[in-house]
């Protein structure tokens, strides 16, 4: 059993949206639906300016609020710590959407089912990396087992002191280097 997690290094992210599009293709999402949202943070005054891109997707929270509020148990956490939505159980009540701290969930307009980043569970089950990680053109994303101290992701978290976006809101499994 693993506890999967990710590092996103915003010092490297160039805001290229490759992760978004590869994710849409991998998951066969409608054009308007994306599992990844992008935030831009500009600081300073010309010419001393800094800019940061922060891609945000489901953080696969421990004790995920979306899971505890989901009345149908459509949202669940796998033994490997991946938070998933069972498309056959979801009624589309959107309670999970209001409960998510990260605005990470979207609703499929055709089926009404609420969806979100699924850590590419099928690929991971085959021992592969999630699509967004594979394609990230600046190697800003690292995926792996948080419980294994020798995994690349664990080492990166230690090395760069990566932190969840809001550690105070409960532990998430995506760590950001900022």
């Amino acid at each position: 059993m693993a506890r999967y997690g990710m590092v996103i290094d915003t010092r490297k992210c160039v805001g290229c949206y490759a992760c978004r599009v590869s994710c849409q293709m991998q998951n066969e999402l409608p054009v308007e639906e994306s599992y990844i949202q992008f935030y831009e943070k500009e600081t300073g005054v010309f010419p001393n300016v800094k800019n940061e891109f922060v891609p945000v997707q489901c953080q696969h929270c421990e004790d995920a609020p979306c899971e505890s509020v989901c009345p149908t148990k459509a949202t669940y956490t796998t033994k490997d710590g991946i938070v998933l939505v069972d498309a056959e159980k979801c009624i589309g009540c959107k309670y999970c959407m209001v409960a998510c701290h990260y605005g990470a969930r979207t609703q499929d307009h055709k089926t009404g089912v609420v969806e979100k980043c699924r850590f590419c569970a099928e690929l991971v089950a085959e021992g592969k990396q999630p699509a967004c990680v594979t394609t990230c053109i600046s190697n800003a994303r690292i995926f792996g087992d948080l419980d294994d101290p020798n995994s690349e992701v664990s080492k990166a978290i230690v090395k760069w002191n990566a932190q969840p976006l809001r550690a105070d809101l409960g532990s998430a499994k995506i760590y950001y280097v900022r």
Binding site: P65, V69, P71, K73, I91, V98, H101, R166
Partner: protein, 297 residues
């Protein structure tokens, strides 16, 4: 707005329905002669709850497409929505049974009525807790919100019952003065609760402060001040207080009570109770609309 007008209407109708049920039970005890109020309350409550549930179902698109899935609603006991589903189910069963007995003019089983009262209160509280437990929206995430919703549920319940009754029996609504007193107190409490909630949340959290600013001076300020505060709360408070004051005068000069049942009195009732209902809906709509999620960047 993830949750929009439809959910606002659902929360409003659930509260209203619970309030109407409680109003009728109260009236049945306190004013056994005010039959209209009792019957009206008992009949509108399951009907409104039913409409509310329908709205919820319509909003839950995936379930709407595959209704059998709604069974799963009963499965997660850590979800307020599941618990609420139980509350509403029991409340609906009791309320519908009682309404049926009223229609069939049969004796009402006391136990069923107590069960109904219990779950009506639970339902009213639930509507507050449903959004009150959401940590992601600091404006909602307070202990006051469920109280506010319960208070508002009772006041809209009274308003809904009185308004409907007024159309059936113009006189009866002037009998139930203690109900009116309760009503005014509830409305005053509501004003107090709203502002207390704003002060507490906005001083402790940035997102909530943004929400409050949106309501008091931003995007939603017109609806907030004129729709909720003026129309939904102040106007009914003033009119009902005047009415209460007048009725005291009238009682002193006994026999004149009949005058109040004339058309000016009827108009006042229609205006106040409609205003309270509008306010109840606007309150829920605004709280959903001004939901600013926690800042995570």
């Amino acid at each position: 707005m993830v949750w929009g007008t439809i959910i606002a209407a659902y929360l409003f109708l659930a509260g209203l329905s619970a309030g109407a049920f409680l109003t009728s039970s109260y009236a049945a005890r306190k004013y056994p002669e005010a039959v209209t109020i009792r019957i009206v309350g008992r009949i509108i409550s399951p009907v409104l709850m039913g409409i509310g549930l329908l709205l919820l179902i319509v909003d839950a698109e995936a379930g709407l497409k595959d209704p059998l899935r709604f069974i799963y609603l009963f499965t997660n006991f850590s979800s307020v929505m599941t618990i609420g589903t139980y509350f509403i189910s029991f409340f609906m069963m009791a309320a519908a049974f009682i309404a049926l007995m009223e229609i069939l003019k049969k004796e009402i089983n006391k136990i069923v009525e107590y069960v109904g009262i219990f779950f009506a209160v639970a339902t009213a509280i639930y509507t507050g807790f449903l959004i009150g437990v959401i940590g992601a929206v600091p404006l909602w995430n307070t202990a006051i919100l469920p109280i506010l919703f319960v208070v508002s549920a009772f006041s809209t319940g009274i308003a809904g019952t009185m308004l409907t009754s007024a159309f059936i029996d113009k006189k009866v609504v002037h009998h139930v003065m203690s109900l009116k007193k309760i009503h005014v107190s509830l409305l005053i409490a509501e004003v107090f609760l709203i502002f207390t909630m704003f002060v507490i949340t906005s001083s402790s959290n940035e997102s909530a402060a943004q929400s409050v600013a949106m309501l008091l001076s931003g995007e939603y300020s017109v609806l907030f001040w004129t729709g909720l505060i003026l129309v939904g709360l102040l106007v009914p408070i003033v009119i009902e207080s005047l009415e209460l004051y007048n009725s005291r005068q009238l009682h002193r000069r006994a026999g004149m009570e009949v005058a109040a049942a004339g058309s000016p009195g009827f108009t006042a009732i229609v205006i106040t109770e409609s205003a309270v209902l509008a306010g109840g809906f606007i309150l829920r709509y605004l709280l959903l609309a001004a939901a600013v999620p926690v800042i995570f960047l």
